[in-house]
Amino acid sequence: MDAKASPLKSRCWWTGLLSHLKGYLLISPAIALLCIFTIYPIFWLIHSSLYDGSLISKKRNFIGLGNFTTLWNSIDFSQTVWNTVIYSVGLVIALMILSTLVAVWLNGKMQKRLNSLTLAAIFTPHIISLVSVSTIFLWLFDPKIGAINYVLTLFGLPNCPFLASSKTALFSLVLMMIWKGLGYYTLLTMAALQGVPKEIYEATAIDDVPKIRVFFRITLPMISPTLFFSTIVCTINSFQVFETVNLMTMGGPVNSTNTLVFQIYSDAFKYLRLGLASAEGVVLLAFVVVLTVVYFAFLGKRVHYQ
């Protein structure tokens, strides 16, 4: 600090605030909304997770970590968490691998028109409302009159019960979400691929590097920041899966598609156990926070652009 600056600084702490008053005024509506609709509910959620109580009665008792103990001991809840994890991990892995492969394929020296047509085709599901998609797939997945089983039959393959069996229901949901999400993640990956300088590939051609090695040593590291971003966004989204479960399976059959958010919804609005639902919300929050922290911790290390 030089001598001239220090008296200014020591004059009063609020002169700084005052001189930036206009700025603070301008951001205050956004900050207010954020506080009211995001920050406050989070604290309220944590607070109410420490009480029992229901939506219809004002009376409630402080029970400490009682709700969490209940969840910890509940076989159904561990099944729910497990379902959510399996659903998310399965969907993320499948989406990342498939979207990368499709993006690399579309980015190659193919017919330009065919490429954009394919991209449009696989991107369209992304802009369709999830409710419509769920309704369509309810019919497609129908074990008796569904179109997918009809096609399977044509090829002499055994029919699949899809949503009707606890063994295949979760898998069916993953399948549908792959169909819906593939285009979006392919588009992101394609943008990343186009950011890789063409000369680098030319250099590998002159270095006589086999295609598969180019993919793993050049392409994949170069697009890894985007892939990492996609992975985290996709994971966070899948952890919050709700609409499809609510519309298609209601968590069934036999709890096999019950997921965290659907469980929260059921507990809060069906069984009116608000405290328990809040505790579940805190669990979900913890998952998402951990994922976000991991994302930011790794992001810095993954970027190797010049």
């Binding site: 300088p197 000369e199 680098i200 030319e202 250099a203 590998t204 051609a205 002159i206 270095d207 006589d208 590097v209 086999p210 090695r213 040593r217 050049i218 590291p221 170069m222 190797h304 652009y305 010049q306």
Partner: protein, 341 residues
């Protein structure tokens, strides 16, 4: 060490013909520079030699063997790119090693080769750094080392110095000349900078619109240009070429051949004019002079602040060009009679 021969080479990009019909012979061990204005097809020619671009028609012979259908990696050549094209996610060592690994060379031999080239280009202290943490000059050296370590038959360089600042460019120029002397390998070098071309090449291929305008030594291309394009492309400021003095020819002379003192013993042209601009370059000065034949450039150490000037051009410094731009060779005596001196 290899010779390269291009026969009847043609390259179209869609509807556009970039190179109509190119025939070129690059001698074994030469430092050949492809030079020309942007869009003249020099880079395309280089990329066709490299195999990065497929010719529409024609043959590419390396050591007498047609390589038109051989992929770039199997042609046994190395290329240095304008923006270096280093692998950004790998260290300097891995960048240099990457091409060797694919050749199936054992680790011990690879290390020996890498250390050898890094010693030559002065990269040894930076082996574990990534390209992002290197300066432009250092990246350039990595690109060179990566090319050298393969011990290729031919070095291809596509404007490798254009991203460096002027000082570094001058020193890298000398280093490349030394490198060529040391390696004795065929170098094919693309640039749009005539100074680079003249100072580095022992064989210069001047191109314009996909056509070779002249292929000769730096000395010949300066002293004996075969057409107006060559005469005006090589040399700064470009050669003055004007019409109106002779009926069937245009006359040219280089700005640096102008004299301000009347030569007694040699026949010469006398030109009067008005100085329009004056650029002090240091020891020498560029004047642009308005004359009755049009604007002319004069490059001299003669210092004057006057606007009116008279200068003299010896007959031996004159060039005559036909209407189609080709050079017409005349002896000094023939010139004297033509110009009625």
């Amino acid at each position: 060490m290899s010779s390269i021969k291009l026969i009847g080479l043609r390259k179209d990009f869609g509807q556009e013909t970039v190179i109509p019909d190119l025939n070129l012979e690059i001698h074994d061990g030469s430092f050949t520079v492809l030079v020309g204005p942007s869009g003249c097809g020099k880079s395309t020619t280089l990329r066709i030699i490299a195999g990065l671009e497929k010719p529409t028609a024609g043959e590419i012979l390396i050591d007498g063997k047609n390589v038109a259908d051989v992929p770039p990696g199997k042609r046994n050549l190395a290329m240095v790119f304008q923006n270096y094209a280093l692998y950004p996610n790998m260290t300097v060592r891995s960048n240099i090693e990457f091409g060797l690994k694919n050749k199936g060379i054992v680790k011990k031999k690879r290390d020996a080769l890498i250390n050898e080239v890094c010693e030559i280009v002065g990269l040894s202290p930076y082996m574990e750094r990534k390209p992002g943490n290197l300066s432009g000059g250092q990246r350039q050296r990595v690109a060179l080392a990566r090319a050298m370590v393969k011990k290729p038959r031919v070095f291809l360089m596509d404007e490798p110095l254009s991203n460096l600042d002027a000082k570094l460019r001058a020193s890298m120029r000398i280093e490349l000349i030394e490198l060529h002397k040391r390696l004795q390998t065929t170098f094919v070098y693309v640039t749009h900078d005539q100074v680079e071309a003249m100072s580095m090449g022992d064989s210069i291929v001047l191109m314009n619109e996909g056509v070779i305008m002249q292929h000769s030594s730096p000395k010949a291309i300066y002293h004996d240009p075969q057409n107006v394009f060559t005469a005006r492309f090589i040399g700064t400021p470009p050669m003055n070429v004007f019409e109106g003095m002779l009926e069937d020819f245009s006359v040219g002379f280089r700005p640096e051949k102008v004299l301000f003192e009347k030569p007694e013993d040699v026949k010469h042209l006398v030109i009067n004019g008005k100085v329009i601009t004056r650029e002090q370059l240091g020891a020498t000065i560029n004047y642009s002079v308005e004359t009755k034949y049009g604007m002319m450039m004069v490059h001299t150490d003669f210092d004057t602040e006057q606007t009116k000037c008279t200068f003299y051009v010896p007959v031996s410094a004159l060039f005559l060009f036909a209407k189609d731009g080709t050079r017409c060779a005349f002896s000094d005596t023939q010139l004297k009679t033509l110009l009625k001196l």
